[in-house]
């Protein structure tokens, strides 16, 4: 990479860091892990700059690198910690008394309870501003798969909202 090309890439990567951090936080949940994910993504992007097509969507390219990095680490971690769903359920039981009427006191906590593939699709479509086609390309799946993941994510969040609504007047049994 010559000097001006390297500098151009650096400037482009720098300008994408805020978006990368937001996507990393959506994927990884915890901010320390999210920033490690951003770092891994920047280093890989630099090393593989030749595979980026000039004029293509750099953010989509970076998000692809990031989510592939995340899911390869995530799959390994999941094999080590089998009870991811149980852990999520335990957190869910501990929290309802902190939730308010038809509102997510901590939307982030609700988001983290979604399966990772659904959360990813929901964020790409609902917050990152990608089209279904772009999201499908980033995730390496069919457009229909993205649509169904987004729908399932929305459905789950709506169920959680409705649940909180009903819990409002119910006695607090979460500490029993």
């Amino acid at each position: 990479m010559n000097n001006s090309k390297a500098h151009g890439l650096k400037e482009q990567l720098l300008s994408e860091i805020p978006s990368l951090r937001a996507f990393a936080l959506s994927l990884a949940g915890i901010s320390d892990r999210a920033d490690d994910l951003v770092q891994d993504t920047l280093v890989k992007a630099w090393a593989n700059a030749d595979s980026f097509t000039y004029g293509a969507n750099m953010r989509a390219w970076l998000f692809t690198i990031m989510r592939n990095t995340f899911f390869s680490q995530y799959r390994k971690a999941r094999r080590e910690v089998q009870d991811v769903d149980g852990e999520a359920a335990a957190r869910l039981v501990a929290m309802p008394d902190q939730m308010s009427h038809l509102d997510f006191t901590d939307f982030k906590a609700e988001l983290d309870l979604l399966p990772a593939d659904q959360r990813e699709a929901l964020v790409l479509i609902g917050a990152s501003g990608f089209s279904y086609e772009e999201a499908a390309e980033i995730c390496g799946v069919a457009v229909g798969t993205i649509k169904s993941r987004v729908n399932r994510a929305r459905r789950r969040l709506i169920e959680r909202l409705a649940l909180q609504d009903e819990d409002e007047s119910a006695p607090d049994v979460s500490k029993a």
Partner: protein, 68 residues
């Protein structure tokens, strides 16, 4: 539609409102993360990459994704 069919409430009248609410919350969360200032560690990292100080790190990153 009265609200004595409590189970169906979310399915019928509230659904579009809930969808909009979720969309708003999602963008709030994401946009607030985007607005965070970029930590110095990333500026330093990019400086190092530009100066060729981390030439072999690309391979290291591959290894890091495969902790043994």
């Amino acid at each position: 539609m009265t609200d004595d069919s409590k189970d169906n409430r979310a399915e019928i009248g509230l659904e579009p409102l809930l969808q909009a609410h979720i969309g708003r919350k999602l963008r709030e969360f994401y946009d607030s993360a985007v607005r965070e200032p970029v930590p110095d560690r990333f500026k330093l990292l990019l400086d190092q990459l530009e100066n060729g100080e981390l030439e072999s790190v690309g391979n290291l990153a591959e290894d890091k994704a495969d902790p043994a």
